[in-house]
Symmetry: C2
Subunit: 138 residues, 2 copies
């Protein structure tokens, strides 16, 4: 059973984060260990702080205009192990331990389950494209 | 010397991509092999097509309002090995072979070189936070 671990962020680091005109910043979620990119969603200042304070991922739903804590209803929770921001401060990266089936509401482990091209002509083939980017051992 | 390999995308897949009100979609770039998330930048429909057709990453600069091909001036080029889109079609993921120093204009290999918290009190300490998310062998 994963344990949520709060991250004590410095004010200096939080101040480096830049939100867009809607007060949002894109947050990439990557799986610890496998390195697989699981999903991308949006955070505002409050959901970023909740994420760091609780050690669970909190996002802002643009369609529903409300906070959501990943996995709170589905059980597919994310426990934050590391949190980064980029050179421009306008994108976040969270390395998480993914619980349950995975990150995608479709039941796929990652939301990025469909590939462009490389001769895959059916959805099944595109889904089964081997993800060569995951894991140094591959 | 890496070789650029075009990706033949199906119209059906391209049609699944959703652009925002500004005609843009966020594109995450991940390094093949290490799995390290290198950067995030924006693409429009034309730069997505150029990326797939040339096998190099092309983005749309919101500040300069122009196309840019990553590494064209710096030499830090990215050769696309796999391209994915997410369940909602509103985020892209490119797995690339990164040439040169790395993806970040600061000289860092990844743009996500600064971590929130975990007791790191100086910029040097925050930069040296071991990236536990990269590589299954770690």
């Amino acid at each position: 059973m994963p344990v949520a671990t709060p991250i004590s962020a410095r004010d200096e680091d939080l101040a480096n984060v830049t939100f867009n005109a809607d007060g949002l910043v894109p947050a990439i979620v990557q799986e610890v260990g496998t390195g697989q990119v699981l999903m991308m969603a949006w955070m505002n200042d409050e959901s970023l702080r909740k994420t760091l304070e609780t050690g669970r991922t909190w996002f802002w739903s643009r369609s529903r205009q409300e906070y959501w804590c990943k996995g709170e209803t589905s059980g597919d929770r994310q426990f934050v192990r590391q949190a980064f921001y980029d050179c421009d401060g306008d994108t976040l990266l969270f390395v998480v331990e993914q619980e349950g089936r995975g990150a995608c509401h479709t039941g796929e482990h990652s939301c990025f389950y469909r590939a462009f091209g490389h001769g895959a002509s059916t959805e099944a083939e595109r889904r089964s494209a081997a993800p060569i980017g995951y894991g140094a051992a591959e």
